[in-house]
């Protein structure tokens, strides 16, 4: 593949790399290329980080579509309980129950809960963790740091395949006779710990647990690699303070995952013991069908502590990569250096640290000591500080910039909007007194969908539109991209904004029907509206899927190495980088990642040496 170098006309960047690059003699060792010697090693069991990134992305998209469709099914039941769902019988089979007298088809309540649970599990873990951080950490860590690949390409490949296996097992659980697990994505005992507790608690929960254990393994293998690569494989000159914010975000994300997922694994392990070995870690004096079980002495709140010790960092594992991507995309497309680079880094670190000491804000209403709650209120509210710093810096980056309104930058701006809206409601919830009213209502659903669900998706979309040219050597269609943006932006607010009002009125989440509550009937129309908005917004996501796959084969070809005029290293490689990323020497870095609009130049690549008398900005 080194011959590509001689074929292409030499750009300024090629010359710089050739003259000043770091020669690691990589291409003299041809054993490195054995990874890509045939179809299977190139496309399936690939060890090339760029291919693994694509595998994560496409698998994530698959799960995104499945998880999204699930939400439409349960929203239909919730919004239109009086309409017949018999037309879904060919797909859902026995889960649609037909009333013998009226002929009305309704979603079975068991399956309603199973769908809600699967929707949450799939979106949180498979799409927004694996699909987001898996994709972009893999793609960008080696490329933006000037490394040939990850520290261990083999572990990296295994990380993907464990994820694949986790998905496969979860997929199989959808077809169980008793249905998949139905006790909520948080899997609280006793529903998770007693196989006889509900129909999904038996085989469904067993597969759920196995799937997620494989998932934890995948996250750990990936995380070990990301951390090691960032700390050890940066090219010459790439000190930590010259790393793009994307890398900082992926790095801290990996550390969070590495420290919190083992805790989840320990909780799962204890659940397994309770399920299969007769222990009572989480079970205490339970009656089922009038019969007392022999479980005594366990504490279900203990599970909640263990779960949320992962669960809260997990939400930042989801949002930090999106934040990193947005910082980068906003800087590139507003042609301005990111505002307050160091403050951004310190905010990421602060958020990462604080995310470990706020978990009990999910448990204000679980009977934890109100005195201890105060401690968690304070730390929870402190997280708003670094979050606000970041929001301020994004806006300041945009302010007065020469903004190019591409699909990528639009999603970046949309991210900031979503993060503000959802972050503000977090401050309501973080006050334990207000949470008494809000807990387990649609207000919480609105909060986390906007701040985590939609915002993280926006970060992911910004990344996909921005780095698609690097992944496939072609552009995605911009018009479709903008259509996708406006549809999603408006649609997401239409879905989730009304939920705040429903929640403030006290409508609980995770209810199958509200017709027994007279006072909630005023929200029937709003519920219909939300369901319709959700269906339309889902339709807009299909535009992305079509645009994505169409562009892989028929998109406009990328003809120059650096189509966005960006400073970072991934744009100094060939348009379609081969194995090892740089055809010749490795680039050497001379400056930080955000030299835009400096000294009258639109942008200055990181590999350009400082001119005489020029000082490095930070």
């Amino acid at each position: 593949m080194a011959n590509v170098l001689t074929a292409a006309p030499h750009s300024e960047e090629d010359v710089l790399i050739e003259q000043m690059g770091y020669d690691d003699h990589f291409h003299e060792h041809h054993d490195g290329d054995k990874f890509q010697s045939n179809f299977i090693t190139t496309y399936i069991f690939s060890q090339d980080h760029k291919m693994i990134a694509k595998q994560f992305l496409i698998t994530g998209m698959f799960w995104g579509v499945i998880g999204g469709l699930m939400s439409l099914v349960f929203r239909l039941q919730l919004g239109f309980p009086e309409e017949s769902m018999a037309w879904l019988k060919p797909v859902l089979g026995k889960w649609i129950e037909i009333n013998a007298e009226t002929g009305m088809g309704a979603l079975s309540p068991d399956f309603y809960y199973a769908l809600v649970t699967m929707h949450g599990t799939i979106l949180v873990f498979f799409v927004l963790t694996a699909g987001l951080s898996g994709t972009f950490s893999n793609l960008l860590i080696p490329l933006q740091l000037g490394a040939r690949d990850m520290a261990s390409p083999l572990l990296n490949m295994m990380s993907y395949w464990f994820f694949f296996l986790a998905g496969l097992i979860m997929f199989i659980s959808l077809f169980l006779n008793t249905g998949p697990f139905s006790g909520g994505w948080t899997a609280y005992p006793p529903l998770s710990a007693l196989p006889q507790a509900s129909s999904g608690s038996g085989a469904g929960m067993t597969l759920w647990l196995i799937s997620l254990v494989f998932f934890v393994v995948s996250v750990l293998l990936g995380g070990i690699n990301y951390i090691t690569t960032v700390l050890n494989l940066r090219t010459k000159g790439m000190n930590m303070w010259r790393m793009p914010l994307t890398i900082w975000a992926f790095f801290v994300t990996a550390i969070l995952g590495l420290l919190s997922f083992p805790v989840l694994a320990s909780a799962f392990f204890l659940v397994m013991c309770d399920r299969g070995l007769g222990t009572s870690f989480f079970l205490n004096e339970i009656f089922i069908g009038g019969q007392a079980l022999d479980h005594v002495g366990g504490s279900p709140v203990l599970y909640q502590h263990l779960f949320w010790f992962l669960g809260h960092p997990e939400v930042y594992i989801i949002i930090l990569p999106a934040m990193g991507i947005v910082s980068e995309v906003l800087a590139v497309h507003s042609r301005k250096p990111v505002f307050g680079y160091k403050a951004m880094v310190f905010s990421i670190l602060a958020i990462g640290f604080l995310s470990f000491i706020v978990w009990a804000h999910h448990m204000f209403m679980s009977g934890v000591n109100p005195f201890i709650s105060n401690f968690f209120v304070v730390f929870t509210l402190i997280i708003a500080v670094p979050s606000a710093v970041k929001v301020f810096n994004w806006i300041a980056t945009l302010f007065g910039g020469n903004i190019r309104f591409t699909a990528a930058s639009l999603f970046g701006i949309g991210f900031v909007s979503m993060f503000i809206s959802g972050g503000l409601t977090g401050i309501f919830l973080g006050n334990s007194a207000i949470d008494i009213q809000m807990h387990d209502t649609y207000f919480v659903v609105a909060h986390f969908h906007i701040v985590m669900g939609v915002a993280a998706f926006f970060g992911m979309f910004a990344g996909v539109y921005h780095w698609f040219p690097k992944m496939y050597g072609r552009f995605m269609n911009e018009t479709l991209g903008k259509l996708h943006f406006w549809g999603t932006m408006v649609g997401a607010y239409l879905i989730f904004w009304p939920m705040h009002y429903i929640g403030m009125a006290g409508v609980p989440r995770r209810y199958y029907r509200f017709d027994t509550f007279q006072s909630f009937s005023q929200f029937d129309d709003m519920n219909k509206f939300i369901t319709i908005a959700a269906i339309i917004t889902f339709g807009f996501q299909l535009i992305l899927v079509i645009n994505f796959f169409y562009s892989i084969w028929y998109g406009k070809k990328v003809t120059e190495k650096n189509p966005w005029g960006a400073t970072t290293l991934e744009w100094t490689t060939e348009v379609d980088p081969g194995h090892g990323n740089w055809a010749g020497k490795l680039p050497v870095v001379h400056r930080w990642a955000y030299d835009y609009a400096k000294d009258g130049q639109e942008f200055i690549s990181q590999i350009t040496p400082l001119k005489e008398g020029e000082t490095e900005t930070h």
């Binding site: 690699n225 050890n232 204890l270 022999d294």
Partner: protein
């Protein structure tokens, strides 16, 4: 993969694979930190069965500590060209590791004989879970030592960078699971005093 090893990485002070191993040890620490803090929280809630620790766990601890030393001196022998010390201390380490597992098993049996079974009370369940999960990590270590033995007895003796790295990684992991057990046993002992 070897091309990576020979090239860029040579600029690092610590080999990336060794570093990755340390990072994974950190995640194992979190696993046990979670379980031991769950232990503390659960114990504070009452309904906690008290029972004496079988003395067998003391013997197993000593066995494991000794095995760390044998592995260390085997490594010294490897470096110094003392092929006999290298090979046989490695074998001894493996045997001590197996002995450790056996003693743990006997310890569990002693608990059962005392009437403390897996499901009797969370205090006992925690002990089984902590020592059981730890034993699983020892099995991983034994596999690594086994591979080291194969290298020692099959490959011709040489002190190459690659073999040194392999040996050092085996050693790091083995000492790690050793220290982990010492932490657990001290923790359990202290909790029983309180």
């Amino acid at each position: 993969m070897s091309s990576f090893e020979n090239t860029v990485y040579s600029r690092n002070k610590i080999h990336p694979q060794k570093f990755a191993l340390l990072v994974s040890c950190a995640s194992v620490v979190m696993l046990f930190a979670a379980l031991t803090s769950a232990y503390v929280v659960r114990q504070a809630a009452g309904n906690w069965l008290e029972f004496p620790m079988p003395v067998l766990f003391l013997y197993s601890t000593l066995t494991l500590v000794v095995s760390s030393f044998t592995l260390y001196f085997s490594y010294k022998g490897f470096l110094a060209g003392n092929v006999k010390t290298y090979k046989y201390l490695l074998l001894l380490t493996f045997v001590l590791g197996i002995l450790f597992i056996y003693l743990q098993y006997k310890g569990w049996m002693a608990l059962v004989a005392m009437g403390v079974e897996l499901g009797t009370n969370p205090s006992g369940s925690f002990l089984y879970v902590l020592s059981g999960l730890h034993a699983a990590h020892i099995l991983g270590g034994l596999a690594a030592v086994f591979v080291a033995i194969l290298h020692a007895f099959i490959l011709p003796y040489e002190v190459s960078a690659k073999r040194k790295l392999r040996f050092e990684m085996t050693q790091i992991y083995w000492h790690f699971v050793d220290v982990l057990w010492i932490y657990l046993i001290v923790f359990l002992w202290l909790q029983q005093q309180s």
